[in-house]
């Protein structure tokens, strides 16, 4: 048999990306348990947190006239995006253990494509999670106070955050190369992102160093911006700072390692 189809000189990066995204979506769909848990866990957390931390709404520093469920839901969106980001890290590590990482690296393909494909997947699942979370929130009395612009801006903030988290955890997965280790390392990284922020309680109630650290935390910026859009009080500056903080993290974890590799080569 001599069916030799010569590969074209320039690889169609678009088709390669579509192939990788399709592969990731297929793989996710074939582990329905993981898919189900990752979509419904934020719902369960929202229900629990909204009951456990309800008294926060009566404490000092809590914005007047805002219900705790309206305060919590946008933050839960941001937090669940961080939690789901670990999936991207585990996926990257699995590609190391099953040999696919090396196989991909020896193919005529841009090295950043598998990571980009994981990011697109995370964005898709983030939006799906937002729908699930929204349903649970409405059942608990949540109301969206913003307009169409707020909704669109909120989606932009959420997707940028998902992209930066997927890139961050993807890098961790590529460096640690073992899914079980990545899972634990992911928890360690996730905690400060989640709690050094106004996600669960107003920043004013926290020690000074935490407030300073929150200024550097893209999740805190995203939670604030999303909350602003939900309450209809967000300014352009809120949205911009959330997008910029996420973009800065994305650049730091994707571009910087590549520059470093180029320099040491």
């Amino acid at each position: 048999m001599n069916t030799t189809i010569p590969a074209p000189d320039h690889s169609p990066a678009g088709d390669q990306l579509v192939a990788l995204v399709t592969r990731n979506l297929r793989t996710s769909a074939r582990v329905p348990q993981l898919l189900m848990f990752s979509l419904t866990m934020p719902m369960a957390m929202l229900v629990l947190f909204s009951q456990v931390f309800r008294s926060v709404a009566e404490g000092p520093g809590f914005p007047a006239g805002v219900s705790y469920i309206d305060f919590l839901t946008p933050a839960m969106l941001a937090v669940s995006t961080v939690m789901a980001g670990t999936n991207a890290g585990v996926a990257a590590a699995i590609d190391h253990t099953n040999g696919l990482h090396d196989r991909f690296a020896a193919l005529p393909m841009r090295p950043g494509l598998p990571g980009l494909a994981r990011t697109i997947n995370e964005a898709v699942f983030t939006l799906a999670r937002a729908v699930f979370l929204g349903v649970a929130a409405v059942a608990l009395g949540f109301r969206f106070h913003g307009g169409v612009v707020d909704a669109v801006a909120g989606i932009v903030v959420l997707v940028t955050l998902a992209a930066s988290m997927s890139a961050l955890f993807g890098l961790i997965g590529d460096r640690l190369r073992r899914p079980d280790v990545v899972q634990f390392a992911g928890m360690m990284v996730m905690m400060p992102f989640m709690f050094v922020s106004s996600a669960f309680a107003p920043l004013d109630t926290m020690p000074g160093w935490m407030q300073a650290a929150a200024a550097l935390n893209p999740v805190a910026h995203a939670a604030d911006a999303l909350r602003g859009h939900v309450l209809g009080t967000a300014s352009l500056a809120d949205t911009t700072s959330a997008v910029l903080a996420a973009a800065a993290l994305w650049v730091a974890v994707t571009v910087a390692p590549r520059l470093q590799a180029r320099r040491s080569a």
Partner: protein
Amino acid sequence: MAAAAVVVEDLHVAYGRTWALDGVDVEAEAGTTLGVLGHNGAGKTTLIRVLTTLVRPTVGRVLVDGLDVVAHAARVRRRIGVTGQYAGLDEFLTARENLELIGRLTGLGRAARARAGDVIERLGLAQLAPRRIGELSGGSRRRVDLGASLVGSPTVLFLDEPTTGLDPMARAALWAVVEELNAAGTTVVLTTQYLEEADRLADHIVVLDHGRVAARGTPNELKRIVGGKVVAATIPSHHVDALPFRSDTTQRIDGDRVRVSVRVDDATVASALVTQLTHNHIDVSDLDVASPSLDDVVAHLARPGVPA
């Protein structure tokens, strides 16, 4: 002389302070099979990783199909296929989906589907095609993995210990495929710890030891380097002290029998040794006088732990 498909000149690769490869020169002519033989840690996998653009040489020049692996990595990747020590496949995809994925990532676009079909037919994978990799046996995975490395129609195929862990039937099936590819003009670079495999498949062999070439040549030339004959006998273990020679290798067969062997200069010495075994009243249950195998070559040239 045919053009060289693989040229490795003075290759050094450092991992931290250790030299994984320490001045290796290797060449493989187009359309031949090069066997890279050596113990674990000899540098075989590192050599394959450099040739497949996964590791950059610290020092030295490496060409695949006439292209420098550092300067033209992307073009090299278009011409090669790689099967590593572990099957590089997605467990949750079927065999066919894996092959199509690799085809599209190789840049075949819509032709990937037809090409995957060709590979399935050629390797006799039709029954495995609709099954997920996670459901397949180790041998079946390796066959699909080999298929994945062929989807891009490579001119040079790298196989890193392709049959490690396979049963004899699966191994023979894989050998048949390699021979067929080779006959069709594909250059094959194969690393192995199985000497039988190198003997059977390779036109030329390099023996790596501690990151250096310990020997090179055709299988027959290498056997001649060791030369002479090997006398091997199975004897009761309590007769070892009565042997008329000090054995090169001693292998326990069962509770009270061992297999001993010794390399001698020629057939006359071998014959004298055999006579002496009887003379010493050693109870020999199995006796062979043979030319050295590649195992003997490696044991002779590349002893683990002893620098060459």
